[in-house]
């Protein structure tokens, strides 16, 4: 028996398994992964074996051919790990990088790469952002020039999640400098180890510490003709299309993290004694938490609605932009209040809420800053 019009038995069963996996295989290790600055590859392989990395991909490649709704159920549960660095390591692979391949790959490219991507043996990253520009994709300067049958790639990328861990990179580059950006950008598949491609450095971040974020450098990287992903000159559209999925996932992640923070804070204030009773007896505390719970529940419904529109093949740019703007800000307010009610303990590294506060900060910036998202909404009002 499900409690939502979007849920069904399959999603419930998926949820149960992901929740169990996170409790047993993730939560006990997050401190070690945070310290190491990376999630072990075996964890992704295990998730691959369980089919968690191919939720929407075709069954012939090992996927389960489900919809955006299943992705949201998966992301919500995954995000209860209290370690967003882990969450994003997985989700960049499943929902921000590999969809470029799955959506635009030729039959040969799919055959060659997708099975191992779904199995968690090949980890993917997407390289769009450059030192000079983030949300402004049209401004990118990395270029790929025709060389004989193939291409020569030059430029640099930054803030690339899974930048060091990755095996396979989907790189945006300008292929026609004379065309306007919407027609002059193309996507390329670049394998780790290709001569001229190096991980310039791993970046040191405030949060998401279990996730590796790197600067990538491409110097005279010669690529074969079949490294081109999708049509030449159509990269801008591919990036924009994929942003929609990425932002739904970031919204679901923010909702999952917010709910987990509320749950652990509730446990804490129910047992924490002060002034002759548990903190929960204080109206100021419980009213604040109840109010945030209502907001998280409302945001969650918007995430599911946007995911449902997407699963029906309907245009959802306005809703998805609202999701990203709303959830990215909300998760920060939730974390602030939850840390506040943990008192001094919430400032201590040994309490998960301390990490969750740091991890949340990027959510209103990465994947489309709130201000950029609100402009997308405003254009459609």
């Amino acid at each position: 028996m499900t409690r939502s019009i979007y849920d069904d038995e399959t999603l419930e069963a998926l949820r149960d398994q992901v929740r169990r996996f996170v409790e047993a295989e993730v939560v006990p290790h997050v401190e070690a992964w945070e310290a190491a600055g990376a999630v072990p590859r075996e964890v992704l392989r295990k998730m691959g074996e369980l089919g968690f990395l191919g939720i929407r991909y075709p069954e012939r490649f090992g996927g389960s051919n489900l919809s955006t709704l299943a992705t949201v159920a998966f992301v919500e549960e995954l995000s209860r790990s209290t370690c967003a660095g882990f969450n994003v390591t997985v989700l960049v692979h499943t929902d921000m990088a590999s969809p470029h391949l799955a959506n635009f790959g030729s039959p040969e490219q799919l055959e060659r790469w997708l099975p191992d991507v779904i199995a968690g043996k090949t980890i993917t990253a997407v390289a769009v952002t450059e030192p000079g520009g983030g949300s402004d994709v049209a401004a990118l300067r990395t270029k790929a020039e025709k060389r004989g049958n193939g291409w020569r790639l030059n430029g640099s990328k930054t803030f690339i999640t899974n930048g060091a861990l990755g095996d396979l990179y989907f790189v945006a580059a300008r292929t026609d400098p004379d065309e306007k950006p919407s027609r002059g950008i193309s996507m390329f598949i670049v394998e780790k180890g290709t001569p001229g491609f190096t991980v310039a450095r791993k970046l040191d971040k405030m949060g998401w510490r279990a996730s590796d974020t790197a600067e990538l450098s491409f110097q005279d990287v010669d690529l074969p003709a079949d490294a081109l992903l999708g049509e030449a000159g159509r990269g801008f559209y591919a990036i924009m299309k994929n942003f929609q999925n990425e932002r739904i996932v970031l919204g679901a992640m923010a909702v999952g993290e917010s709910q987990k923070a509320l749950d652990i804070t509730l446990d804490y204030v129910r047992q924490r004694q002060a002034f002759g009773g548990p903190l929960w007896d204080k109206q100021a505390v419980r009213q604040k938490l109840a109010g945030l719970q209502a907001e998280v529940a409302a945001a969650r419904q918007l995430v599911w609605h946007a995911a449902w529109l997407d699963s029906q093949g309907q245009d959802a740019v306005k809703e998805v932009s609202m999701v990203k703007a709303l959830c990215g800000e909300l998760v920060n307010r939730v974390m602030y209040a939850c840390q506040q009610f943990h008192g001094g303990y919430g400032y201590m590294r040994e309490y998960p809420i301390e990490r969750m506060v740091r991890d949340a900060r990027i959510q209103s910036i990465g994947g489309g800053a709130t201000e950029v998202m609100l402009e997308e909404v405003a254009k459609r009002m």
Binding site: E9, E12, Q17, F21, E49, L66
Partner: protein
Amino acid sequence: MKVLVAVKRVIDAYVKVRVKSDGSGVETQNVKMSMNPFCEIAVEEAVRLKEAGVATEIVAVSCGPQQSQETIRTALAMGADRGILVQSDEALEPLAIAKILKAVVDKEQPELVLLGKQAVDNDFGQTGQMLSALLGWSQATYASKIQKADGELTVTREIDGGLETIKVKLPAIVTADLRLNEPRYASLPNIMKAKKKPIDTMSPADLGVDAAPRLSVVKVTEPPARQAGVKVGSVAELVDKLKNEAKVI
């Protein structure tokens, strides 16, 4: 060898259980339900027996409300072949469940019935033993290891202060203890496949079983809250307190 596995739908082991305000039971409305963890271990063991070529077919049975079908689906996603739901909205006691299972055994004729040693909701720990008595089959409870030889099982049991290894003749009843195995996750592709596996639904009456309760619940209360501890100044004081206050030595 055909194996029957009994699975029970209970309040999820991670949920903090709350007593209803009228003391008639615990709150089950809007509470997350899952398969009883000991039943998961029983299912896992059945699947391993099948993977080892010992079991040929696994039938998962659950007794309870319609939603118990979800629990059967979990067993199917883990590797059981088909399910039987004996549907009842009444509170079913161990004796009623044992009688229902006996009727199912009479129909299905398995060689082995695997159950959890107890369910984490009521902690009765009686169903397997009662079923064994009703069928007149041998039983091996609290199993931590199961091996099959010709017509019999060698079962290691967890008992107070150690392990006991016994042989039981088939057909037999075995109840699973915590250390028998570590249950697998159901993979997403297997969850999808489980949707196509058949589940038969019947009622206790269809099986000719009177499932009426024999017990009545007088009152359910929260366990007393744990009292704060005290620090003792010396070993002598500790011994004194253990002897005269706690009266444990």
